[in-house]
C-alpha cells in the first residue's frame, strides 16, 4: 500500500476554502503535524534580502517586503529570522511582532576580522512580520506603543546613527494605509512619500534613505514557476507513492489519473507550454504569486469535477476508474481550472489570468477539422492519431467518439448533446495546446488556439532575441511601425519605412490626423531610428523611437500591445473590446513622441522664413502615403 499522506497534504496547496491570512504558517504547522516536508525552494530574491542582515551589510538598513498575498513575504521573514538565529519557538508563536538583537561593527565601513566585542555595537531588529495583523483594524485607534514604534521607524530610516532597524512585511495597500493613519509628523510624511515613490516607480532604494524596499510582485512569474515546479515534482512524496507499487486500479497505479497528471507535468513540452503562459502573463503586466503557482500545479494534478472540493483524494481514484470518468481529470483542463465551478474559478487569480488567453474557445478551421473530421482522413488522420488516439487517458475515448458521431450525423438534436460535445472540444483544444510539438507549431497554427495569435512570435522572435541583445527581424519591426502609423494617422496607411507623426491641427489626439509633423526613419539615419530592445532595469521589452542620439521615447511593448499593433497592421482593425485600452495607450505614446519632436525642433536654428509650410497626408490607392506640401505666403 503506498504512503498516501503526501497526497492528503498536497490538498492544502490547492483551491480549498481556507483562511488566507497566515497561509504560510498554516502550511508549516500541518506539515509538522503530519510529518511531511512542505514544498520548498529558494525565492529568486532570497539571497539578496537575507544579505541585508548578514555580513554583506555593514551599515544596518531597514527592509520592507511588500507584494500581494501569496508572494512569500512571511516565508522570507522566516528565512531572515533563521539566518539571524532567532528562536524557533518564538517564531512559532502567533505574535505578528518580534524583536531580535544583532550586532554590527562600530566602524560602519568594514566587518572586523576579530570577534572582540568592543568593536561591535548592538542593534535591535524589529520584525513586523504581518503588519495587517499588528496594526489596528480600520477605524480603530493606534495603541500608543505601536504608534510610537512606527514613528521611531520613520525617524530611523533617515537617521544615520540609528541603533534600531525594522523588517516589515505588508502588502502595499496596507502599508500606505497604515502610514496614512499615523500622526502626521514630518518624518511620517517623508516616509510615506518615499514608500509611494518606490512603489509607483518600481525602485528598491532612494539615496539618503536607510531603507531597502522589495516589491515581491515585481518578480518574474516564469522564474518563480521554474523553481516551484522543480520543487513540486521532486518532492519525495511522489517517490514514496511509486515505491508503494500500487495495483492496476489503485491510487498511483498505471490507470490512476493523478499519476498520469504527475507524469505529464514532467513532460518537457507540457512544462514549456505552461511556462510560456506564465511568461506571457509577465509581459502583460500580470504577476502570478507563488501561492497561485502552487495552487495551479496542485489543481492540475488533483483536479476532477466530481470529487469533493473538485480535488481527488486517494479514495476517489478507484471509483473514478470504475465510473470511466478518468478523462474528466484531464491535466489539460485542470490547468485552466476546468474542474472548478465557473464562480469559484473567477475568484482565483491564476485562473482569471489564464482565462484571458481563451484557450479552448479560440480555434481555427484547421484545428477543428482535425478534431471533428480528422479520424480516417487522408491528410488529417495522422494528426488525429498522434494527438487524440495515442493519448490513452485524455484523448479520444469512447465517449468522445460517440459524441462526435452524434454531432456529425446530427442524430442528437437536443441542446444537451451538442453542448456536451462542445465541452469535449474545449478540453481537446486545450489538450492540443500542450501536445502540438514545437516543430509543428507553425504548420498547425498553435497560437491560433489563444486570443493572442502573435504570442508565439512574441516569445520566440522578440523576447528571446532582445533578451540576448539580438536584433529583431526587420519584417516584425516594419509590421509594428505600420500598425503605429495607422493608429497615429487614422488612415489605412501601408508605409512601414518611416513612422508618421501627424496631428489634426487643433488636437494632437484627433482620430484622423492629416497634418504631418515629421517622419522618423526606421533605419538609422542622422540619429533617427526605431528599435526593439530589452530594458534590463524594468525587465520590459520596449520599442524605442529615436529622434536624435540623445532624444528618444520608450514604449513598453507588452504582449497585448504587440498583438494590437500586429492586428491593426494586418487586418486594419480589432474587436472593440480589447482595442480601447491599447488605443488610449498609443495616443499617449503619440503625445510623448510629439513632445520629443518639439524638443528636437527647439534645438534647430529656426529659419526666419516668411512662408508657412504645411505637409498634408493623403493616401494613394495602394495605401501609400502621398504627401502634399502647401505653402502659404503671409
Amino acid at each position: 500500500m503506498p504512503n498516501l499522506s503526501w497526497l492528503k497534504f498536497l490538498r492544502h496547496y490547492g483551491p480549498v476554502p481556507r483562511n488566507d491570512n497566515m497561509y504560510d504558517e498554516t502550511i508549516q504547522r500541518s506539515a509538522r503535524r503530519q510529518g511531511i516536508a512542505p514544498i520548498k525552494f529558494e525565492h529568486p530574491a532570497e539571497a539578496e534580502i537575507v544579505n541585508c542582515f548578514s555580513h554583506a551589510t555593514v551599515d544596518p538598513v531597514s527592509v520592507i517586503l511588500t507584494g500581494t498575498a501569496g508572494d512569500g513575504k512571511t516565508h522570507l521573514c522566516r528565512q531572515i529570522w533563521r539566518a539571524l538565529k532567532g528562536a524557533e519557538d518564538e517564531w512559532a508563536s502567533d505574535s505578528p511582532y518580534l524583536t531580535l538583537e544583532s550586532r554590527y561593527p562600530k566602524d560602519r565601513t568594514i566587518w572586523p576580522e576579530s570577534d572582540d566585542p568592543t568593536l561591535y555595537r548592538s542593534i535591535k531588529i524589529h520584525f513586523i512580520r504581518d503588519l495587517s495583523g499588528w496594526a489596528p483594524q480600520q477605524g480603530a485607534e493606534w495603541e500608543t506603543e505601536k504608534e510610537e514604534l512606527l514613528q521611531r521607524c520613520c525617524r530611523s530610516i533617515f537617521a544615520p546613527d540609528t541603533d534600531e532597524i525594522f523588517l516589515i512585511a505588508a502588502n502595499d495597500g496596507q502599508l500606505i494605509e497604515s502610514w496614512r493613519r499615523l500622526q502626521e509628523t514630518d518624518h511620517v510624511k517623508r516616509t510615506r512619500q518615499v514608500f509611494e515613490e518606490l512603489l509607483v516607480e518600481d525602485k528598491r532604494q532612494q539615496s539618503g534613505v536607510r531603507l531597502k524596499f522589495f516589491n515581491l510582485s515585481r518578480a518574474s512569474s516564469a522564474e518563480l514557476f521554474d523553481r516551484a515546479i522543480a520543487a513540486f515534482l521532486q518532492h519525495p512524496g511522489w517517490q514514496e507513492l511509486m515505491e508503494g507499487t500500487p495495483g492496476e486500479n489503485e491510487v498511483f497505479g498505471p490507470k490512476c489519473p493523478i499519476r498520469h497528471n504527475y507524469e505529464l507535468l514532467q513532460n518537457e513540452l507540457v512544462r514549456s507550454r505552461l511556462r510560456a503562459l506564465l511568461e506571457l502573463c509577465d509581459y502583460n503586466g500580470l504577476h502570478v504569486p507563488i501561492r497561485q503557482i502552487l495552487l495551479l500545479l496542485t489543481n492540475s494534478v488533483l483536479g476532477h469535477p466530481d470529487a469533493k472540493d473538485h480535488l481527488m483524494v486517494p479514495a476517489d481514484v478507484p471509483k473514478i476508474i470504475a465510473a470511466g470518468t478518468v478523462s474528466r481529470a484531464s491535466l489539460f483542463n485542470n490547468i485552466f481550472g476546468g474542474n472548478l465551478s465557473a464562480i469559484r474559478r473567477q475568484t482565483i487569480t491564476i485562473f482569471d489570468y489564464l482565462e484571458r488567453f481563451q484557450i479552448g474557445f479560440e480555434t481555427s478551421n484547421r484545428i477543428d477539422n482535425i478534431l471533428i473530421f480528422g479520424e480516417g482522413d487522408e491528410h488529417l488522420g495522422p494528426y488525429f492519431n498522434e494527438f487524440l488516439v495515442n493519448d490513452q487517458f485524455y484523448g479520444a475515448d469512447s465517449r468522445f467518439h460517440a459524441s462526435k458521431l452524434d454531432y456529425i450525423e446530427g442524430t442528437n438534436e437536443s441542446e444537451d448533446g451538442a453542448s456536451e460535445f462542445m465541452q469535449m472540444l474545449v478540453s481537446q483544444r486545450r489538450g492540443l495546446y500542450f501536445k502540438i510539438p514545437k516543430n509543428k507549431e507553425e504548420e498547425l497554427g498553435l497560437w491560433e488556439l489563444t486570443v493572442f495569435k502573435f504570442s508565439g512570435e512574441y516569445l520566440d522572435y522578440v523576447l528571446s532575441v532582445v533578451r540576448n541583445q539580438g536584433i529583431v527581424k526587420r519584417p516584425i519591426v516594419s509590421r509594428l511601425v505600420k500598425g503605429l502609423n495607422r493608429v497615429f494617422t487614422g488612415m489605412l496607411i501601408n508605409s512601414d519605412r518611416d513612422l508618421y507623426l501627424a496631428t489634426g491641427g487643433n488636437n494632437s489626439q484627433a482620430k484622423i490626423s492629416r497634418l504631418l509633423l515629421e517622419q522618423v526613419s526606421v533605419e538609422p539615419s542622422k540619429g533617427e531610428k526605431i528599435i526593439i530592445r530589452f530594458d534590463g532595469t524594468s525587465g520590459r521589452v520596449v520599442l524605442s523611437v529615436f529622434f536624435a542620439h540623445d532624444i528618444s521615447v520608450d514604449f513598453n511593448l507588452t504582449l497585448i500591445r504587440y498583438e494590437f499593433l500586429s492586428r491593426v497592421a494586418l487586418e486594419g482593425a480589432l474587436p472593440a473590446s480589447f482595442s480601447k485600452e491599447c488605443y488610449e495607450d498609443l495616443l499617449a505614446f503619440k503625445s510623448q513622441l510629439i513632445a520629443a519632436y518639439m524638443r528636437r525642433q527647439a534645438r534647430e536654428q529656426a529659419t526666419e522664413g516668411s512662408a508657412i509650410g504645411l505637409k498634408l497626408l493623403a493616401l494613394t490607392d495602394q495605401g501609400m502615403p502621398d504627401q502634399k506640401f502647401i505653402e502659404i505666403i503671409p
Binding site: T66, G505, R514
Partner: protein, 511 residues
C-alpha cells in the same frame, strides 16, 4: 455654500428692456441653454482678448457689471469657410488655375453681408487654387460643431488665436444675434473677474495663449483682407448678481490647474470648456440651493455605467431629478420672498394696495406693466408666478440638462431616464484638474466629492444617503468600475489589492 446670498442690483445704465427680471436677478443676465459650453468659451475669448488689448482684463474698472466690449465680424473669413459650397465643383469643372480663381471670385461677388466683396487678396497668399482649397477644407474640418446644420453665420472656426474670434450674427450677417452667443460667455468672464485668483489666472491664460502654435492663426489671418475693419457695436448689459461666490473661485482654481499642465497646444481647450460647463451647472444649482435656504452641500451621485441596471443608477436618476427641479423651486422661492417681504405686506394694508403691489413687482421683477387681470394683489402675484415659471422653463431651466449632457456629465446611456454618468472625456478633465502628480484613488474620490459634490464610492455615498438607501456593496462595485475605466484609459496604476494610484500623465515636472 450656506452663506447668505447678497445679490447685487443691476446698475442704472443697464438696458431697461421690458422683459421680466427674475431668472436674471437670481443667476444673472444670463444663463442661456442654447449656448452650449463651446460657444460660452468662444464668447468668453472674444471678451477676454478685447479686454486684454485694453489692458484691463479681469478688472471691472468702471464698476461691477459695467462691461462694455466690441467683437469682430470677420465676414470675409466666414464667407470663405461656411458660405462657399463652390470649391469642389470649381476644381472639377475648371482645369486651369487662373480659370478657377476667376470663376470663384465671380461667384463670391454675392458673398453675404459684405458691401462690394472683393476676394482677390487671397491670390497672393497661395501658389494655387488647389492649395487654397486644401487649406479651407483643413480649417473646416477642425471648426467647431463641424457637422451641425446651423446657419452659416453661427458657425465658428476653432479658436486658434485672435484672428479666429468673431461674434454670432443673424441670417443676413448684419446684426449680432443672441442665439448662440447668449451672454453666458460674458457671465463666465465676469465670474473670473470676481475671483481672488484673477491675477494668477490672467498670467496663466495669457502665457498659455501666447505659447500655442501661431501657425494656424497666421493662416487664418491670410484668409482675411488686411482692411477688414467690420466690427460690431458696443456689447454691454451683461450682469452677474454676486460680487463673490465660492463657485467663481473653484472655477478659477480648476482652470489654473489645467493651464499649469504640460498638455500640448490646443488640447487644453476641451478641458477648459468642460470645466466652464461644469461650474456653470454647479453655480446654477448652488445658487438655487442658497435661495431655497438649503444648507447641505450639493450632491451628484454618479453611476459608472454598468452593463445592467444597478442600485446606483436608480439613486443617480433620483438625484438628477431632484437637482433638476432646484432652479424652478428657486424661482418660486424668489417670488414668495417678495410676497412675504415687508414691502409687500405693508402695501397690502394700504388702500391703494394693488397699485403699490404692482409697483413693487415692477421694481423687483420688471414685470406687471402689461398686466390686465383683476386688480387683486393675490391675483397679480399669481400671474407673475405663472409667467416667471413659463419663461424659466423655456431656457434657464434647461441648463442643468443641456450643459450636463454636453460636457458628458448627464447621460441616458442604457436607460430612458437621465442620470449622472460621466464620460471618459469628462473623467479625464476632472482628473487633470484635481491630480497634481498622483494620488490614491480613494483620495481622488474624496476630493471630487468635496469640490463638486460628485459621489462615486461607498464612503462618499454613506455620507450623502439615508441609511435605508445606502448599499455599501453597490457603491463599492461602482468605484471598482471607475477604477477599471481609469485603468483602461491609462490613468491608473494598480499596485496590489486595495491600493491604486491615479496618475496625471501631464504632471508639471514631467519633461
Amino acid at each position: 455654500m450656506s452663506a447668505q446670498l447678497q445679490p447685487l442690483l443691476p446698475p442704472d445704465t443697464l438696458e431697461q428692456s421690458s422683459s421680466m427680471w427674475v431668472d436674471e436677478a437670481i443667476w444673472g443676465h444670463r444663463l442661456y441653454d442654447e449656448q452650449l459650453p463651446w460657444m460660452v468659451l468662444l464668447e468668453f475669448l472674444n471678451v477676454f482678448y478685447h479686454e486684454v488689448e485694453k489692458s484691463r482684463a479681469f478688472e471691472e474698472p468702471n464698476g461691477l457689471n459695467m462691461l462694455k466690449y466690441k467683437a469682430a465680424h470677420r465676414l470675409y473669413l466666414r464667407n470663405i469657410l461656411f458660405n462657399n459650397p463652390h470649391l469642389a465643383e470649381i476644381r472639377l469643372n475648371y482645369p486651369n488655375d487662373s480659370n478657377r480663381w476667376d470663376e470663384w471670385f465671380k461667384r463670391m461677388k454675392s458673398a453675404t453681408g459684405i458691401t462690394h466683396p472683393q476676394f482677390t487678396y487671397l491670390k497672393v497668399h497661395f501658389h494655387s487654387f488647389d492649395d487654397f482649397c486644401e487649406v479651407v477644407s483643413l480649417i473646416r474640418s477642425t471648426s467647431l460643431e463641424v457637422n451641425s446644420n446651423k446657419r452659416w453665420t453661427s458657425k465658428f472656426v476653432f479658436p486658434y488665436g485672435k484672428e479666429c474670434l468673431y461674434e454670432d450674427l443673424d441670417n443676413t450677417a448684419t446684426t449680432n444675434d443672441r442665439r448662440f452667443f447668449g451672454r453666458t460667455g460674458e457671465l463666465l468672464y465676469l465670474m473670473l473677474c470676481r475671483t481672488q485668483h484673477k491675477q494668477a489666472l490672467l498670467t496663466a491664460l495669457t502665457s498659455r495663449l501666447s505659447m500655442t502654435d501661431s501657425t494656424w492663426n497666421s493662416i487664418i489671418k491670410c484668409l482675411q483682407p488686411t482692411d477688414d475693419e467690420q466690427i460690431g457695436g458696443d456689447r454691454a448689459n451683461a450682469f452677474l448678481p454676486y460680487a463673490h461666490h465660492p463657485s467663481f473661485d473653484e472655477l478659477a482654481e480648476d482652470w489654473l490647474a489645467i493651464l499649469r499642465l504640460n498638455i500640448p497646444g490646443f488640447d487644453v481647450f476641451p478641458h477648459l470648456t468642460n470645466l466652464a460647463g461644469l461650474h456653470l451647472v454647479k453655480y446654477q444649482l448652488g445658487v438655487s440651493r442658497q435661495v431655497l435656504g438649503m444648507t447641505s452641500p450639493l450632491s451628484l451621485v454618479c453611476e459608472v455605467v454598468a452593463p445592467k441596471k444597478t442600485l446606483v443608477r436608480e439613486i443617480s436618476c433620483d438625484f438628477y431629478q431632484e437637482n433638476n427641479l432646484l432652479p424652478a423651486q428657486a424661482v418660486e422661492a424668489f417670488i414668495t420672498n417678495i410676497e412675504m417681504g415687508t414691502d409687500w405686506q405693508q402695501a397690502l394694508t394700504e388702500h391703494d394696495a394693488f397699485e403699490k403691489c404692482k409697483k413693487i413687482l415692477q421694481d423687483k421683477a420688471r414685470w406687471g406693466e402689461d398686466y390686465d387681470g383683476s386688480s387683486d394683489p393675490q391675483q397679480l402675484i399669481t400671474s407673475l408666478r405663472q409667467a416667471a415659471m413659463k419663461r424659466h422653463r423655456q431656457h434657464v431651466a434647461n441648463i442643468h440638462r443641456n450643459y450636463g449632457r454636453e460636457i458628458g456629465l448627464v447621460s441616458k446611456r442604457g436607460t430612458i431616464k437621465l442620470r449622472y454618468a460621466p464620460t471618459d472625456a469628462l473623467l479625464k478633465t476632472l482628473l487633470f484638474a484635481n491630480v497634481e502628480n498622483r494620488i490614491e484613488l480613494h483620495q481622488l474620490l474624496e476630493k471630487l466629492h468635496r469640490r463638486y459634490g460628485l459621489v462615486f464610492g461607498d464612503k462618499e455615498a454613506e455620507r450623502v444617503l439615508a441609511k435605508d438607501e445606502f448599499d455599501k456593496k453597490a457603491f463599492q462595485a461602482n468605484s471598482r468600475r471607475l477604477e477599471q475605466r481609469l485603468a483602461s484609459v491609462g490613468l491608473l496604476k494598480r499596485l496590489s489589492d486595495g491600493c491604486a494610484y491615479v496618475i496625471n500623465p501631464y504632471r508639471v515636472e514631467a519633461g
